[in-house]
Structure formats: structure tokens, C-alpha cells
Symmetry: C2
Subunit: 451 residues, 2 copies
Amino acid sequence: MLTQTGLISLAEVTDLNQLKLELSEVPAIDVGDYIEDLPEERRAIAFRLLNKGKATEVFEYLEPDVREALIGSLNDGQVHQLIEEMSPDDRAELFDELPAGVVRRLIQGLSLAERHATAMILGYPEGTAGRVMTTEYVRLQEGLTVLQALEKIRRLDRDKETIYYAYVTDNNRKLRSVVSLRQLLFSLPDAQIQDIASDRLIRVRTDTPQEEAAQVMMRYDLIAVPVVDSEDRLVGIVTIDDMVDVLEEEATEDIQKIAGVTGGDESSLSPPLQKLRNRLPWLLGIMGLYIGASSSISPFQSTIAKVPVLAVVMPLFSNTGGTVGIQALTVTIRSLGVGEVTPEDTWEILKRELQAGLGTAFSLGGTMVLLSLIWTKPEERWVALVAGVVMSINSLVAVTLGTLLPIGLKRLNLDPALVSGPLVTTMLDTIGFILFLTMITVSLNILGAPV
Amino acid sequence: MLTQTGLISLAEVTDLNQLKLELSEVPAIDVGDYIEDLPEERRAIAFRLLNKGKATEVFEYLEPDVREALIGSLNDGQVHQLIEEMSPDDRAELFDELPAGVVRRLIQGLSLAERHATAMILGYPEGTAGRVMTTEYVRLQEGLTVLQALEKIRRLDRDKETIYYAYVTDNNRKLRSVVSLRQLLFSLPDAQIQDIASDRLIRVRTDTPQEEAAQVMMRYDLIAVPVVDSEDRLVGIVTIDDMVDVLEEEATEDIQKIAGVTGGDESSLSPPLQKLRNRLPWLLGIMGLYIGASSSISPFQSTIAKVPVLAVVMPLFSNTGGTVGIQALTVTIRSLGVGEVTPEDTWEILKRELQAGLGTAFSLGGTMVLLSLIWTKPEERWVALVAGVVMSINSLVAVTLGTLLPIGLKRLNLDPALVSGPLVTTMLDTIGFILFLTMITVSLNILGAPV
């Protein structure tokens, strides 16, 4: 729906040459959407109208199942050419999706250089910079002049994913410095590149997690960052367009995990079965855990029979306390996620959360007393007071759990978003109910409060 | 903590020239962090060590209060030079933060061109492309050759924020086409730029919301997008580094709004008072709304006194039903937020959510029956059946509300994330409690079910 270009439907096409021209002028991603919207049997027709370079680009934007079907309907020569032209990182992603047998056949058709590049990327674990990097970058040898560097780029680097940074390496491919195309363009032709290049350069390693690479690029406003191996040899670059996608995926995952939706980024239009698979396990898990909360109420049934207004008041502090916990949880997870804080900041964060939490506890406790007075009979007014006290305590417990649980996971090198909202509300309900019902029962049976 | 460069503390500095050299080599954002960490009285000392260009860059990264203090401690000449050198969009942002009196004085010190550029940007509403664009872009007149274009860029565009795209305009500044520096570099020097430039170019308007501009850039993998006025005249460009920040802010806002935290992006380290201001209104609002839910239970107190196991079962389906609602809500808000779906897709989305919802309703209803059997006495077993039925119905209501409420807001051109999680759980509790307690009371009093 963000498409800025309109295309006619293939059914209305009378002149294939006209469509061919249209397709060559429209951005690749729009052509991709167009092809996906076509009936399956027409997709290959439209795809064959694309010129070589465009076909590769469009192919990279297609959905996995559409790609697989296309590979089936094109002839071997066409397929091999297509795969050969893809950038190594996109090719690695494609190979991840396809059946092993198909991949084996495709790899055999690749040139040695491309086969090597793909194998290298596939060798790094998913979610690392090594896996999302491209091996198509501009490398300059130390010792060139600006003019020589520009000539080299003009001659040899036409196909590189970005030419806006060039990386300078020594004879062992060790990364020494970086020079931007901008610097090359604004320098005198006979200047030495090592004189204008910067050797304080930002780099990530092949095993750097992709979110961290994205955050580094964001911090330093880079459109590409070099990736080096354990011996500081340059092996690839990560470009900003891939990193923007990583940031969006990570944000979606965080949001959905907090809400108790697992399995990566689910869309509104994901298939119903996938939705069910992403959500049901959490729901059943939460119900299972909630046996604890409900079982903690069960022994107090005689108390509730005596003071049924408890059943009116309990959902109120359960809902409110849960919200307090989720608020703190969400802010903590997000701050950890975007790298604003680390587990070292634990005490500073907890201090601030508890200071705010005191204000919350005081306000909500007071409100709880007032609201409870609506439903309590005159002789039961003391119940309102107990409810207020429990609401206050519950608020402080809520911010503490919402802050410490995700930080604790992060300390253990686990994903902080594993503590989802429903988990926190379940814990809070259990604690709150036991506290409340115990206080009420003690007031009734030991202190002899009236009902 | 993502800083890749270490700096010594100013207290340890014996040689200011050494520090000056260090500061000139470290990225501006790291220098900014370094200055912010210094005691207040030393910040101006360190800042004065920076050369002109670096000072401006560093200044743009400082926190608002640090900037204001610095403006106070530098002399007028230094301040005017600093402000003059800033890019118009960052200057506009600075002026937004400073007291009106200070801004007036600063504006008077600006050159006419910069004053004009800033006034134009400040004229666009916050949150639009016009407000985040920069007016420093490369513009080429139609009719130039590649060589002339490169010469023009080399001579006149040294200060432009990005030189990697050049925009071609006609005599009336109307945007005609775009050519990348890459294309210029790989073309023959005497080619006409209009022959290599693309006239199918992606553009946004000054009043395009910033999230939409960010999504367009993401879709088309652009590192800059031109901004045009209502008459299609080029007035600025938006660059990818600003858009990445916009995407991150929007994601944070969405996450936090769903959790009931208002007021933009709160960090774990935000001041406690701000935290309280962001969260308490929602909590009190939710408690106020919950009067409805609790009041709906109140009339059934005699039923609860007769069947106190109801108080054990009710929190279970309230917690679970709330989670079902928040799951659907979160997926919907995120899909709308990243532009994957629009309100036109309403029925398709609802269909899929309800199909998955049927599976959820069936599973959770069954589990509810089984779990309720734990706490019900033999003669109360029928309560478990009613609880299961209500759980199923509640699940279907939950996915419906979680899907339709945010889409409805979007249709009204409001922010879908205004329907926060706690709002949905409050609505679901009210509906669920009324349904459950009515069914139980009818079973007891009219059907004569045993207790």
C-alpha cells in the first residue's frame, strides 16, 4: 500500500513489449508485489520479461514460496544465471528456505567464487553480523592515490552493494582504515589515500549479534559497517538497508513477546494456524501457572462466603497491579533492547522505578480505599483499608518484578523479553491474592473484625 | 556502552594539546557522551578544544539541558558561529527546546539564508517530513553533462548532508529526476544527466507523516528521499539516519502505549517524576473504568456467598481472556504501525483472527473445565462447565475487540495504539464477569442447579 507506482494487470495487457518497458522502469520491490499478485501460472511469464539485473533484484524481494515455484518453472540455464547474480547474503537466505536437494543442485551450478562466498556466509550462525553481511564491498590496497582509487572503483566495483565507503587493507587483508567516496571526491587527485582515510574506524565482528551491529550503525550514523574475523581481517560489510529490517524485526519481536506471542514477527495477515501456534502455548502455559493463583484463593472459600465483597474488590487490584507490572516491564525491556541501559545500571534503574513506584503505590492505594467503599457495607469498611494497603504493596512488588526479571535474564545472556506480560500478571495475582486473603482472614478470625 | 573508543577523564589530563588531538579523532557522538559525563564546570573547557566543524557535530548530539548550559558559558561570537554552522533541521530542533528569549537572540545572529531555512522548517508541523528534512541537498539543473555535474558537486556541495543522490530540477525548482553519485561515477563524462537520471522517483511531501516517510525509505531501500511542496517543488531531503531514529521512536511509543505508558519514549533511566507522569494517569483511568467491572460483580454477592468457588475461578478466566485480547491487539497495532495492513484489510484480518480464535476458544474452554474441576466440590461440577463456556465466548470477544478497536481508531485517523492493553482487559473483564455470574445465577435460581 506504500507503492508509489501503478501497474496494469497482466490480464489487460495486449502488448507484452509495453509491459516489458513498464516493468523495467518500476522499482524492483513494486515489480515483486505485482508478480506476487498475479495468478500463479502467469508469474513466470511476467518474470521472463525482466532483464537480467532486474530479474535478480526482483527475485530477492519475492516471498519464499513464490521463489520456490519460480525456480520450478524456469529452465536450468535461467535459474543458474539468476542464482549466480544474486548477492551472497541474499543467496544464503534463499538456500536457508529451499529444500536441501534443490540447494545442492543450485550450488553445483555456481561459479567457484560465488560458491565460496555463499558457503562462508552460511558458516556463520543465524542472527550474527556474519550471516547478514555481504561480501561485495570496495577494498583498496594501501599505497594508492585518490585518483588511482577512483579509477579502481570505476573499473572494478560496478557491482558492489555500496561504493560509498571503501575499506583500506594491508597485504594480509587486515582492515586498516576507511575512506568515504565523499572524501575521495573532495580530495586532490594525487593525495595518498592513507592520508585522508580514517584509521579510528568502527567495525563489528562476524560473531557480533545482528541487533548490536544495527545499534552501532545507528549510533554512528553509518550506511555500512565493516565486518572482520577474529584476526581482524576484512570479510564483508553490513549495509543500512539490511539493518533497518533487523531493527524493525527486533522491535516487532519485543512487542509481541511482551504480549505473549512467540515465534518471531507475526503479521495481522499471517495464516490462522500460525497465529494459533504462536499464541496457544503461551495461553495454556499461563493457565497452568495460574493454577497457583487460583489454588491460593481456594483455601479461603469460607472467608469469601462470609465476606463476598472480596470477590468484587479482588479483580480490581489484580487488573491494576498487573498494569503497573507491565508498564515497568515494557520500559525495561525496550531500554535494554535499544541499548540505552545494561545490567550494570540495575541499581540506578531500580532506584528510579521504586521512587516513581512510591508515588504510584500511594495514589493507587488511596484510590483503592475510596473505590472499595462503594461496594462494602458499613460494617465491612475495614475491608477497604486492607484492600488499599495490599494495592500499595502490590504496586511496589510490581515495579520490582517488572524491572528485575528482564534485567536478570539479560545478565544470564537470555532474551529479556522472555518475561512476558502475562507471566508478570500471573505472579502478581498469586502474591496479591495470598496477601489480601491472609490479611482479611487474620482480621476476621484473630482480630475479630465485624462482617 | 556501545562506544568503541575510550577517552581518558579530563581530571587526568596534563596535556590539553594531547586531549585536543584525541577529541579530534574520536567520533562526534562519543565526544558528546564524554562531555556529558564531565562535571558541569569542565564541559565548556573540553568543548572549546574542538575545531569548528567538530564542535557543531558534537553540539548536535548533546542533551537539551547540556546544550542550554553550554550556550550560557560560551561567548556570543562562539555561540553564533556554532548555530550558523548547524544543519537547519538540527537547528530547528534546538530552537524548539530553548526558551523563546534565547531563540530570538540566536535568530538575530544568523545569516539571512540560514534564518530563512530554519524558519521554513519550523513552519511545518511536528511529526511531518517537512520538520525532519534538511535543506542541504545536492541540486542539479537540467541540461548538465555528467562531468559538469561532478564538477558542480565538487565545487559547491562540500557541506551537503548527503551527496550520494543529486536531484535534478527544472527552472521552477520542480523535481524532475534523481541521479545517484554511483550512476554519475560509472557513466561517461559527456553523457547528459537527464539520460542517466531516473524520472520514476520516489518522493514524499512536506506534510507526509514522518513514519510514512520512514516506511517509504525502508520499502525502497533509500538512503535519502526528496521532500516536495504542494506544487512539487523540491524543498529538502530526509536522510536515513534521521529515519532510523524515527522508526525506533515509533516502535518504542507503540510498545509503551500498548502497556499503558504515555508521553512518548520513556527510558529506564528517565527521572522518576516523568515516569510517574507517564504512567499514573493511565492507572487511575483504568481503575475508574474498572468501577464498571467491579460494579457488575457487586449485585451477585449473594450468589458468590452461596458458591464461593466462583471467586477462585473468575480471576483465571479474567487473566487468560485478557492475554488473548492483548495478543490480538498487539499483532494488529504492530501490523498497522509498520504498514503491512490498512483498514481496507479489516475483514480479511478479522476472518483470520476468528479462525485462529476458534481454535483458541476450544482449547482454552476445555482447559478451563478441567482446571475448574480441581476446586469445585462434587455437587458444584456444573460450575466448571459454565466457566468453560464463558472462557470460550470470552476468547472470541477478545480477538474481535483486539482486532477491531485499533483498526477502528486507524479509520478515524487516530493512533491505533491508543487502545492500550489495560483498556482491553478492563472491557473483557466486565463482559466476562456479567456473562459468567448471570449464567451461574440463572442456573442456581431458575434451573435449580445444586450447591
